[in-house]
Each structure stands twice: as structure tokens, then as C-alpha cells.
């Protein structure tokens, strides 16, 4: 998957996400989720990583089931005090839950199979403004350094019992936020000065090569999957 052209992956993912939202059948999100799970397994992404990736969408999926069972209406399945639980609402909630998990998996597959520089190259090709793309690249570049710095400072605070209670934890978090901002600001000034000295211009991501045979196969497979899903949806399968 990582060798496939990022433009093909972004276009394929966008099509799947739109189909996932637009086709209102159980079968479509179920098939998308299955296809993405197979892709992740074929890409040797550890199951633990896959589970972590779906944990956040899954918590919202539960919220969707609960809210729809109460609010979406239909025949009453059961009552808890004054609150009625509806059968059609429950079914709609389950459909939403499937849609959330399927959509989450599509984004995860795109994210884990495509490095940020390739995503940014593709975004430029799709005419996303250069300023935004460069900003995204620069933020990503500094993200891990900044996080390491935060972790080091927090560890130092913990070793001085800075988080021993909620009260001094709050004081420590304020100091941590302020110290991080000041360090980031100073490092930003130094980096800016260094860039000015070497006459830095726009970030050059390099242009993408023309799509190859693998990209063509991946594009055709994605198009076939999208077409099949639309066909199944129009045919009323899995309603």
C-alpha cells in the first residue's frame, strides 16, 4: 500500500468516505470496513495498532446507538423510566455505528500507509494552497521534538512530586504550558534566524512521478469497489 501513488489513495479514500455517508444501507459500511480490515492485515499492521485505531470511533459508535435508540423514534422496544427505547432507532443507531467504524478505518488506512510528505505533495497537486501545505509540513516536523520536550519537562516535574495531588498538578500543568510556550517561542526565533541566514524560500516537497502500473491497478480496484458499493446500494441490498 505504501508504494501506491498518494493521489490515488487520497482520491480512493475520498470516494469511499462519500459513498460510506451517501449510501444508506448496512451492507455498504460493512463491506468498506471488511475491505479496510483486509488491507490492514495484508499490510502487516499489528492487530493492537488496528484496535487502538478503532477505539476512538468505537466510543462514538456507542454514543450513536444510544442517542438514536432514544431520539430517532419508531415502535417502542422498552422503557427505562420516562425514556422510551425505539426499535427503528436502535437499527438506525447500529447503521450509524457501522458507518463510523468503516469511515474511521478508511482514514486509518490512508494515514498509516502514506507518509506526511507524500500526502502534502498530493495536496499540492490537488491545488490546496501552498501556505497551508507548508504549514502542515512544518507543524508535523516540529511535533515530535516539541512532544519530547514536553515529556522531559513533565518527567522532571513528576520526579519533584509536582503531580502528587490535584492542586499541585494544576499548578504544574500551568507552569508546564507556559514553559513549553516560552521554549517553543525561543526555538522558533532561532530557527527563523537560521532560515533567514541561509536565504530560505518555500519548502520544496519535490514533484510526484507519473502514476505507474501499480497505481493504475490500485486506482481500478478502488473504482471497482466504489462502483460495486453504489450498485449494491441502488439495488436495495442490505437495507
Amino acid at each position: 500500500m505504501s508504494r501506491v501513488d498518494p493521489r490515488v489513495k487520497i482520491a480512493g479514500a475520498a470516494s469511499l468516505l462519500v459513498v460510506n455517508l451517501a449510501c444508506k444501507t448496512y451492507l455498504v459500511p460493512a463491506l468498506i470496513a471488511l475491505a479496510m480490515a483486509l488491507l490492514m492485515t495484508a499490510g502487516s499492521i499489528p492487530y493492537r495498532r488496528q484496535l487502538v485505531a478503532v477505539a476512538f470511533p468505537a466510543s462514538f459508535a456507542l454514543f450513536a446507538v444510544a442517542s438514536q435508540t432514544v431520539f430517532a423514534g419508531g415502535s417502542v422496544l422498552a422503557s427505562i423510566g420516562p425514556v422510551d427505547l425505539h426499535r427503528e432507532g436502535l437499527l438506525h443507531g447500529l447503521y450509524l455505528a457501522l458507518r463510523i467504524v468503516a469511515g474511521g478505518l478508511v482514514v486509518v488506512v490512508l494515514g498509516v500507509s502514506t507518509p506526511i510528505n507524500r500526502i502534502c505533495q498530493a495536496l499540492r497537486w490537488f491545488r490546496v494552497p501552498a501556505t497551508f501545505v507548508e504549514l502542515t509540513q512544518t507543524v508535523y516536523r516540529y511535533l515530535f521534538d516539541t512532544y519530547d520536550e514536553l515529556s522531559r519537562m513533565r518527567q522532571a516535574q513528576r520526579s519533584r512530586l509536582g503531580w502528587a495531588s490535584a492542586r499541585n498538578g494544576l499548578a504544574s500543568s500551568r507552569m508546564l504550558g507556559a514553559a513549553l510556550f516560552m521554549r517553543v517561542y525561543e526555538r522558533g526565533l532561532r530557527s527563523s534566524e537560521a532560515m533567514r541566514c541561509r536565504g530560505a524560500g518555500p519548502l520544496e516537497g519535490g514533484s510526484l512521478p507519473a502514476p505507474g502500473r501499480l497505481d493504475l491497478i490500485a486506482g481500478l480496484a478502488a473504482a471497482a469497489l466504489v462502483a460495486a458499493l453504489i450498485f449494491l446500494s441502488l439495488g436495495g441490498w442490505g437495507r
Binding site: I116, G177, V184, Y185
Partner: protein
């Protein structure tokens, strides 16, 4: 709170993109002018964007609940950088969070930009400016910004969820229910965010007042 991929109907997901792109477009155009004047400003923006990203992951103890949560970070960023810049940096953080941390989504990116990056920044900054004009001290004004920005973010997120999930109930009832269900955790969390924002701004002002003069305080 990030709305995950697949949560909103397709037409609503598309509709939230329109205002989000308008605000981000205006912010990017403004940043482009600045970068054209001084290309080295990019490094500063990148680091501040990483700060906004990281700050939204910073653990803050929630009083009364006995747990730890995370600030939105956008009210603080808006005070330090201006709401438009904070909105753009927030949108970049949301994009990276959805792609690499499965927080949020791509079709819900527009909705998340509006609730977290735009509403949190502008409401927080508005509360800060208004309270400063009314004579509040720096700490009180920053604290209010944190509380207002946080509650506004959750109010808008609840509205987005209510519009998407109201079913046969009225939007207002579902919005009130969703917002009320967040309150037990959200009130203490917003108070914690207020204390955190006030503490950070006061600490910076005490240690490095020159930084607060250097960063942008105008929208």
C-alpha cells in the same frame, strides 16, 4: 471533542465545510502575506502549531471529578497569537490528528474546525478582549477566555451532533440533552481550562513579558 468520521450525514458534513473553508481561507491569505514579507516566520508558525497540537494533549487534573482531561488549547492560542492564526493552526492540528491519531475525521473536518478551531478561538478571544476592556486583570481575563472558549466549543459540538442525530425529536431538545449530558464533566473541565489558561498567561507575563508584546494580540 472531536466528531469522528461517519457521524454526520453527507449534506451536513459538506455544509460545515463552507464556513470552515471561508475562515481558514481568510487566515491562510493573511499568513501568506506575512510569510511573503518574512519567510522565516514559517518556522515560528510551525513551532506554534506544534504547541497548539501538544497543548490539546496536555493532561490537566479536573477538580471534583478526580480524573485528568485535556484542554481545548484554542482559547490560549487565540490570546497569544490572535483568533484567525489560532484557527488556522487549529485546523492543521485537527487534520494531523484525524490522519495519524484517528481523532476526528476527514468528512467531519469542517465541522470540527468550526467547533474547536474557530468557535473556541473567537469566543475565547472575545471574552478576553471584552473583560480586559471592562478592566479585568490579565489572569481573570485569560481565565474567562478559557472557560468561555471551552464551553462554546462544547455548545457548538452539541449543536452539530443534535443537527445530525435529532431524528424525530426537535433539534433544541436533542441539543439541550447532549449539552446537559456533557455538563457534569465539562463544567469542571472548563474551570480547569480557565485556571490553566490564566496560569499560563500570567506565568509568561511574569517571566517573559517581552514575548507577550512580541506575539500578536489583535484579530
Amino acid at each position: 471533542m472531536h466528531i469522528p468520521e461517519g457521524m454526520l450525514p453527507v449534506e451536513q458534513a459538506a455544509a460545515w465545510y463552507a464556513p470552515a473553508l471561508a475562515v481558514i481561507g481568510a487566515g491562510v491569505a493573511r499568513l501568506k502575506r506575512k510569510i511573503d514579507e518574512a519567510p522565516e516566520y514559517k518556522a515560528m508558525l510551525g513551532l506554534l502549531g506544534a504547541f497548539v497540537f501538544i497543548i490539546s494533549l496536555l493532561p490537566v487534573p479536573v477538580p471534583g471529578v478526580g480524573t485528568v482531561s485535556h484542554p481545548c488549547g484554542t482559547p490560549l492560542a487565540a490570546i497569544l497569537l490572535g483568533p484567525l492564526t489560532a484557527s488556522v493552526l487549529g485546523s492543521v492540528a485537527l487534520l494531523l490528528q484525524s490522519l495519524f491519531f484517528a481523532h476526528g475525521g476527514l468528512t467531519t473536518w469542517g465541522a470540527n474546525i468550526i467547533s474547536m478551531a474557530v468557535a473556541g478561538s473567537f469566543a475565547g478571544f472575545g471574552a478576553f478582549r471584552l473583560s480586559r476592556r471592562l478592566g479585568a486583570g490579565l489572569g481573570i481575563a485569560a481565565g474567562l477566555a478559557g472557560v468561555v472558549g471551552d464551553m462554546t466549543t462544547y455548545g457548538v459540538t452539541s449543536l452539530q451532533l443534535a443537527l445530525g442525530l435529532h431524528g424525530q425529536e426537535s433539534v433544541l431538545v436533542v441539543w439541550a440533552t447532549a449539552f446537559a449530558s456533557f455538563l457534569p464533566t465539562q463544567v469542571p473541565l472548563s474551570l480547569a481550562e480557565g485556571l490553566f489558561t490564566a496560569g499560563v498567561v500570567v506565568f509568561i507575563n511574569r517571566q517573559r513579558a517581552d514575548i507577550l508584546k512580541g506575539v500578536e494580540l489583535q484579530p
